[in-house]
Every structure is written in C-alpha cells, then in structure tokens.
C-alpha cells in the first residue's frame, strides 16, 4: 500500500522533475561538455581539447577582471541594498500622509527593465552635461568623470543598481517589520527603551528571517548582474567593469568562442558553489524565536 502511494506521489512529481532535469540539469551538463571542446557555437565540427579552456581562463587578464568585478557587484550590491532597504523600510513603516505613494515610487524602478534604467542613468553620470555634474557646478565644483576607469565604472554600476533596486529589499523588510508582535515593542517602551535602542535590540534581531531571505536573494541576483552593466557602461572602459555573465556572453556571441565561454561558465559555477555553500550553512544555523 505504502509503495503504491509512493509511486502515485512520484507520478505527481514527474512533470516537475522532468522540467528541472530538462531546463536545469541538461543545460548545465551540456555546458560542462562544451567546455571540453574548441567550438564556435554553430559549426558541426567540435574539436576535443581537454582542459585547455579551463587553463586558458586562468591566464586571461579579462577573466580575472570580470571575476573581481563580479565579487564586488555581488557583495557590494547585497550590502548596500540591505542597508538602504532596511532604512527605507523603517521610514515607510511610519504613519504619514502619502506613505503609499512613496512606497510605490521607491518600488517603481524594480519593475522597469535594467537595460532601460541603464540608459536613463547614463545621463546622470555623463561627464559633459550629466545631471550629477550639473549639480556640482551649482557649488562651483569641477565636473567629475565618473566612469573614467574600470573600477570607478564598477562602483557607478554598483551604486546605481543598489539605489534602483532597493525597493524589493525594502518590501521584504517591511513585511518582516509588520510581522513583529506589537507586545514586544510595547514592553520595551514601557521599560523605557529609546527608539534607537528598541530598533537595535528588539526590531533588528527579530528581522533576521527577512534579512536571511534578502541576503540570499540579493546575492543570487547580483552574481548574475548583466543588464545594467550592458546599457550603462557596456563593461568598459576596456572591459574594466565587465561581470562574468557579460564576459561569458561576449565570448560566446561576439567572438564565437562557445567552448571557451562554457569553460568560464564552469569556473563561475565553481566560484558560486564555494561562496554560497558556507554562507547558506551559516545563515541556516541562525534561528529566531519570538
């Protein structure tokens, strides 16, 4: 009877299993296979070259720049978005006139394509006539070339993405704030806790589940950053702000190096595993009890 039941449940799961295998495991497996070939992405001829693509990546200057930038994007955006999202959540959790409109305004950029937002934000950072430099000129400050170097462009992309997408983090924290029992906050107030102490010792520790969700989601999204870089800095100057996802795409589609792109993708996969496993382990060890 139990076996029959198990088989029935397995049949229910089968469509989902097939989708996961077909849409996740098969592409990953195929990319892994491609990484061992010299292939341009469309030719019927694929030449087996063993680990050459993996070795080549290690001596590729642009691979290391892209890896460095990807780590900056992943951790930088996660940190800035969480700090901003938390601050904004505290702000819009207050009762004031127009609160709903402000929440919607903060969230709005999340719903617009990153490619479009990158194009719009370009006009903020332009050296000549950009909005930021116009503001500086009001105070007689010399214009700044915000995207002069690869590293400065990386930070421009990082801050832009964080500011534009902090609305999603704000929503997560807002949901967390509204789940905190009011009795706990009232008790703290009755015991004479200041607003700052209340936040530091009661609210923030109790927001830990939201924080874990937010960190994990932002880390995953930031590792895959592509659209804003592509339209804001195009990965430049001279590849200085490229992320690994953009670099993989360029190698595959611009240079027709599908095998090499797959090799880099495998390194990327390896880096994500190394980073995400301990973080997940640490975060899942944290538990909150009301």
């Amino acid at each position: 009877m139990q076996k029959k039941l198990d088989r029935k449940y397995f049949l229910f799961m089968l469509p989902a299993i097939l989708m996961v295998v077909g849409l996740r495991f098969f592409p990953i497996g195929n990319a892994f296979r491609m990484a061992f070939f010299n292939w341009n992405g469309y030719s019927p001829n694929m030449k087996f070259i063993g680990f050459d693509n993996f070795k080549k990546a290690l001596s590729d200057e642009y691979f290391w720049i892209a890896l460095r930038n990807t780590l900056i994007y992943a951790f930088g955006i996660t940190i800035v978005k969480n700090v901003l999202g938390l601050a904004l959540a505290f702000f819009v959790d207050q009762k004031f006139h127009g609160r709903a409109a402000i929440r919607a305004t903060i969230y709005l950029p999340v719903m617009i394509s990153g490619f479009i937002m990158g194009q719009i934000m370009y006009y903020f950072y332009q050296y000549d006539g950009g909005i930021l430099n116009e503001i500086l000129s009001w105070f007689n400050i010399e214009p700044v070339y915000w995207m002069k170097t690869g590293l400065s462009s990386t930070f421009v992309v990082l801050l832009t993405t964080s500011f534009l997408h902090c609305g999603s983090t704000m929503l997560l924290y807002l949901a967390g704030l509204q789940n905190i029992p009011h009795e706990l906050l009232e008790s703290a107030r009755l015991d004479g806790a200041s607003s700052w102490k209340e936040k530091l010792h009661i609210t923030i520790p109790l927001l830990q589940p939201s924080m874990i969700t937010s960190v994990v989601l932002n880390l995953i999204a930031s590792f895959k950053i592509y659209d804003i870089i592509s339209s804001l800095s195009k990965g430049g100057p001279d590849g200085g702000s490229t992320s690994l996802t953009l670099y993989i795409s360029q190698q595959y589609f611009n240079y027709n190096k599908a095998g090499y792109a797959a090799g880099i993708a495998m390194w990327f996969f390896f880096v994500i595993i190394i980073i995400s496993v301990p973080i997940n382990k640490w975060l899942s060890s944290k538990k909150v009890e009301y």
């Binding site: 010299n38 341009n40 992405g41 469309y42 030719s43 019927p44 194009q119 370009y122 006009y123 332009q126 050296y127 000549d128 070339y145 995207m147 002069k148 462009s153 800095s233 195009k234 430049g236 100057p237 001279d238 590849g239 200085g240 360029q250 611009n254 240079y255 027709n256």
Partner: protein, 444 residues
C-alpha cells in the same frame, strides 16, 4: 460522467492542437522556421497566375518595421504573380543558420547576403550580371558587389556608405574648409583650428568602425603609407604597419581632439553633441546617421565626407557595405521565379518602400535620382563637393581583407586604444589584434 467529460475535453484539445499545427501559413502573414528549400509547392496564389503553383522560400534577417514592410512587399508580389512566398526570418541567428544550411547544401531559393555576397556566398549564388538592375548600380555599390572578373551575384537595393560626417556650421565658425581636406595630416590641422575656436573636433566614441573602416587609407588603398593588401588576404600579415593608423589616433587623443569622456560616451549622446554643434566631425559614420542628426537639429548643416588619405597623392576613400542585398541559390528549383522576384524588388516604388523602412541608402541610379532621404542626398552632395578629389569606392575594409569574426576584436581594440594610447598601449593593441587574427584564421 466525469470520465466522459475528461475524454471529451481531451479530444477537443487534441483536435485544437492538430488544427493549429496544420494551419497553412504564407509568407505575407508571418515568418516561419526552416523548411526544404527550392521545391515548388502545389498551391496557387491570389489574383495573378504567371507563377501560380510556385513556392519561393526567402531567408531574411529583418526585424520590426523592416520585417513588416518586407512582408507587405511579398504580399504584393503574391497578388501580382500568384506565387507563394515563405519567409524564413532568422533574425540575429541569421549568419550561423545560413552557414549551417550552406554546409548542408540546403539553401533557400532567395536569401539576404548580409554583407557576404562575394566572400561567403559567391560559390552558391547564381550569376546575375545579365539582369537589368545590374546595369543601374552606382559606382559606390559596384566596389562592394562586383567580383574581380566583373560578375555580380546579388540584387543590392541599398548599401551602407561609410566615411566621415561633418558639422559644416562648426567648421565655418572655426574657419575650416572641410572640402579642402585630402590627408589625415590636414584633418589633424583642421582639428587644431577647431579646438582653438572652442569646439571639440571629433565626437566619435571607440567602436570597431574607428579601427576597421578607415584602415584601408593607411594600409591597402592606392598610394597610401603602406601596401599590405596581399599579406592581409593570404593571412601572412603581422600587423606591424597597423601602427600608422594607431599613431594617427594617438596624436588626436594626446591633443585632446576627442571629448574628455570619449571612452564612455554612448552613441545617442555622440549624435546629440554633434547635432548640438559641440563637435565638428564623426569619424567613420554611415550616411544614414545624417538623417539622425537632422532629426535632432533640423536647422543644422551636416554633410558627408570621404576618409582622407594617409599621405599626399594617396587615395581618399568611401567604404560601402551591402545593405538590402538578395542572392539566388544556384541550385534552386525556382530560378526563373526567383529572378522575377528580384526584378520586382528592384522596381523603384518597391525599393523606396524598403528604404523607407530600413533607413538605408539607395544604390541604383534610377532610385537615387528620386530618393529624397538625407543619406542619399548627402552622398550626392559629397560627390559634387569633392569632385576634384581622388576618391576610391571600396568594400568595407574588414570584409575585404580580414577573416570573418574580426569585427568584435576591432571593437575591443578601439576600446583598448582609448583606455591607453601611450606607445606601450599601442603595442598592446597590435598584440591583441594579432592574436585575434591568428585565432580567427586557425579557428581557435
């Protein structure tokens, strides 16, 4: 009852799917995926009957408005001749799909050559030299599509003409006569005057056009500082002479003739600054961009100029690439119908419809005479203003001299150049291009 309902709904669903899958598609309505090419279908067309029962497979790379316009043109053809046209629209996968189809010897009856009528598709294309439209080509087009033995394999409706774009108002304000410039040294002298007058001489941003399109004026055209065309074509060139082109840019960059933020400026911004009268030249631009500049500043005064020569007496150059160009598969089973289709496309009213949608420049004299688009007018004006100059019309340089796949390397090289234009930076650019060239040749 429930079982009956489930069975009934399943049967209805299956029949719906079969019905949807089996629906007849014709070319005028929608683009569809690959099918066997060159086989006549047993179905008729609409009102005409000259080609009734013939099905032409046409492969294109159009998207958006261009695709809609092309579908409408095909629909008109179907109505007039009774043939059916099946459009294979491969969009951005066009080149790779066509290469695969060529390898499988299974090409469509008619296909867009996308810049490669001679070097890639010549061996599989029908010689069209005897067609009427081939006698009507402008010289700027012949340099692109005519083989060394005088044969033409394509009906080219439009071409992309590339040279320098000039803001005449800025030149006038700076006291520069752009029509007197014949060499790149004179161009740099003009830049100095323009800068002294308070303008930025060059609006260009780093892209492959800068490192590829004008390279012939240093390396391969008649009377230039180097002559390495043969080595380039047989794959033995070591890129040493490319330093002449890089030194030109080095001078311009060191003299601050580009915008200070040139390395990160985007193309829209470049056009806006040019249209607003902040800069005098854009190096390596398509004539179609003149239309963009006039749309941004209708009161502006812009013109098109050839690339200057690298030394006095050398050949100035205008480079052209294939625009809307169609070939016929030499093994097609519908060669006569395909010829009728290409002649239909070459009629001025049909050509103008396509030009209107693609914003390209006409290249057949009959159409050029009635084409009022700014790009075409600019090319005509250039010929008039530069009448006394020694101008050569050439195929796009990388298509003529470099193996397929170098364009991306040329773009990266331009970015590297703008990021570091010291002597050691120039050497790095050369090393990078040499590696890319070797990789592309060996397929690694």
């Amino acid at each position: 009852m429930k079982k009956f309902l489930v069975c009934l709904l399943s049967v209805i669903m299956v029949f719906s799917l079969v019905a949807c899958g089996g629906e007849e598609q014709n070319g005028s309505g929608s683009a569809q995926q690959t099918q066997e090419g060159g086989k006549p279908a047993q179905q008729g067309g609409a009102t005409g009957n000259e080609l009734a029962g013939v099905q032409l497979e046409v492969a294109v790379n159009y998207t958006g408005d261009s695709l809609t316009a092309f579908q409408q043109i095909c629909s008109n053809f179907e109505s007039k001749y009774g043939a059916t046209i099946v459009i294979d629209n491969y969009g951005s996968d066009y080149s790779s799909t066509m290469i695969n189809r060529m390898a499988a010897n299974n090409l469509p009856d008619v296909f867009v050559t996308a810049g490669w009528s001679l070097r890639r598709y010549k061996s599989v294309s029908l010689d069209l030299s005897d067609q009427e439209y081939c006698k009507d080509y402008d010289e700027s087009a012949l340099g692109v599509i005519q083989d060394d033995d005088g044969k033409i394999y394509v009906n080219m409706i439009s071409n992309g003409v590339n040279g320098n774009v000039v803001n005449l108002a800025v030149c006038e304000a700076a006291g520069v006569d752009p029509f007197a410039i014949t060499t790149w040294d004179e161009f740099l002298d003009a830049c100095a005057k323009i800068k002294a007058a308070g303008f930025t001489p060059i609006a260009s941003n780093p892209d492959a056009g800068l490192t590829a399109n004008l390279a012939g004026t240093f390396l391969t055209y008649e009377g230039e500082v180097a002559d390495v065309g043969e080595q380039l074509k047989n794959g033995t060139w070591d890129w040493a002479e490319y330093i002449y082109l890089l030194k030109f840019y080095q001078k311009a960059l060191m003299s601050e003739y580009f915008f200070k933020d040139a390395r990160s400026i985007n193309t829209n911004d470049m056009y806006e600054r040019m249209a607003a009268g902040q800069a005098a030249f854009i190096i390596s631009e398509n004539t179609a961009s003149i239309a963009t500049l006039y749309s941004l500043n209708p009161k502006g005064n812009f013109t098109f100029a050839p690339f200057p020569a690298s030394k006095a007496g050398g050949e100035e150059a205008v480079v052209s690439g294939e625009g809307d160009a169609f070939s016929i598969w030499k093994d097609s089973g519908n060669i006569e119908a395909a010829k009728i289709f290409l002649n239909f496309l070459a009629t001025p009213e049909i050509t103008l419809k396509l030009l209107d949608a693609t914003s390209r420049v006409s290249c057949q004299k009959t159409v050029m005479a009635i084409d009022e688009t700014p790009g075409t007018k600019a090319l005509a004006a250039m010929k008039e203003k530069y009448a006394g100059h020694n101008i050569g019309y050439h195929n796009v340089w990388d298509r003529e001299y470099l193996p397929s796949g170098m364009w991306a390397y040329m773009g990266t090289a331009a970015n590297k150049l703008f990021a570091d234009y010291t002597d050691s930076g120039l050497n790095k650019v050369i090393e990078f291009l040499k590696d890319g060239y070797d990789n592309v040749y060996t397929g690694e």
